[in-house]
Symmetry: D2
Subunit: 153 residues, 4 copies
């Protein structure tokens, strides 16, 4: 992944209890870090993460996550999480993430996280709302591939 | 993934604190479940997970993890983790995992986890030991693809 | 704490990712174990832990937790969590817990967890319902001290 | 606890995956937050948290933790953890912690954490080193009660 494509950065510090018995950050914790990046990204778009959204018409679920581990993060490391939306299709979209040491840009891990928009009642995929497409396009400009499928008639 | 290829099963129960604000098991927890499957598998092969292995000549690191989320796990669910080694190459090997509801075999998630054998000092990949190849072959029989690369001369 | 006073036992196995960089179960994880004991206890009383209880009239909150650490739990340990209600007062009640190695009864930790019954709207303490007092009394018999405060008139 | 007695403050932000099914930070996570405060305190004293300290002559273990929960922390909250050493006795010492909302000083929780200095081989308590007493005294001044027990002769 090319870090120049990522416009959204957050910073975080490795926490003591995230270190496992091998003396490195546990492999599942990186998924948590990338989630923090996505939450920050969503907030920067101006979307409030509503923990009552459970009750809403639609919901967004994680369908697939990939992590490539490049080098372990260690106690005391100050890390940056870079986040972008790489594409939006009809009913799905993808986040990409880079985790790196803040000071040196040493690559720690990379992440792809495919999300799907679901109807809350039927649990069936529905079209990603145009409002979300617009918010992402405004933020990403040309770096995200955003489809604008015609509505079925 | 075809569940008939998996010879190793463990059972676990979703724990209350693994439930997130959406009322389902948090997405990073599934990686923990698949790890439990792998730890159980390794133990069944007769290998002791040595938490002092840090000091050893070689170590095994997770290089890539993939999770496909099929359906959320919920509070009280009793789950099965099915684990197998799908291949062993020169310096790497792959675990596959299926997470399902124990009683109904409802598919919750699938996992691929690519591991690499490293020299502890140089951090360079080294050949997966023949002893490990034999242990896996004895357990898996034909279901795992195990290369036996010739030693360089 | 006297283990003969505890009628409710659950069993759990230390999970690999609960081990910290010191090679022992992390200190915050013991609180999770004791919670599992309490969830099991509540279920044995016949009370369903309703994750939508958020919407209900009353809710029960943890007001104070104490843990005495006797000996560290380690990878592979099979542990028992013993749980009891030690008292019910007007608006509060206390759980006690013992964590021990299943096979040897070696004491790992002890826990006290004081809970308070709150009115969901006002966030003010309300009387612990008589139905809960009865359920606990039926299960505990003489080992729990249960007050039956007169209703104010 | 009187917050004016606390000279060491760190700031942290509630992370999405720390929220439980009740929509608040899970009760065990507060112990993690207080640990972060203690780690920061130790670093400010100039002591490096050595994750290889396992191999050392002495080690410091948590013997007892108490948490008083005042109000739940929620998603997005920016919190302060205030940490101090309240006393050092012969073989033990106590940390105290306050968790509060950074902006409003709304009290979220309080913590006491009693630690014991152990001989690594015998697992028996040993005298807290004078070097540690001095470091704490220099930082705390009069706010910590530090005994200077005479060496047995």
């Amino acid at each position: 992944m090319d870090r120049t494509q990522f416009k959204h950065h957050i910073q975080l510090k490795v926490r003591s209890y995230e270190i496992d018995w091998q003396g490195i950050v546990h492999n599942a914790v990186y998924l948590q870090y990338f989630e923090l990046g996505r939450v920050g990204y969503i907030e920067e778009l101006g979307i409030t993460l509503d923990i009552n959204s459970i009750q809403r018409e639609h919901r967004v679920v994680l369908a697939r996550a990939e992590v490539d581990y490049r080098a372990p993060a260690r106690l005391g490391d100050v890390l940056a999480v870079l986040t972008r939306v790489s594409y939006i299709r009809n009913t799905s979209f993808a986040f990409e993430g880079i985790l790196e040491v803040q000071a040196t840009q040493k690559r720690i891990a990379e992440n792809r996280a495919i999300h799907v928009w679901l109807d809350h009642r039927s649990d069936q995929p529905v079209r990603v709302p145009d409002s979300f497409r617009k918010q992402v396009q405004r933020f990403e400009g040309d770096t995200a591939i955003i489809d604008w499928p015609a509505y079925e008639t």
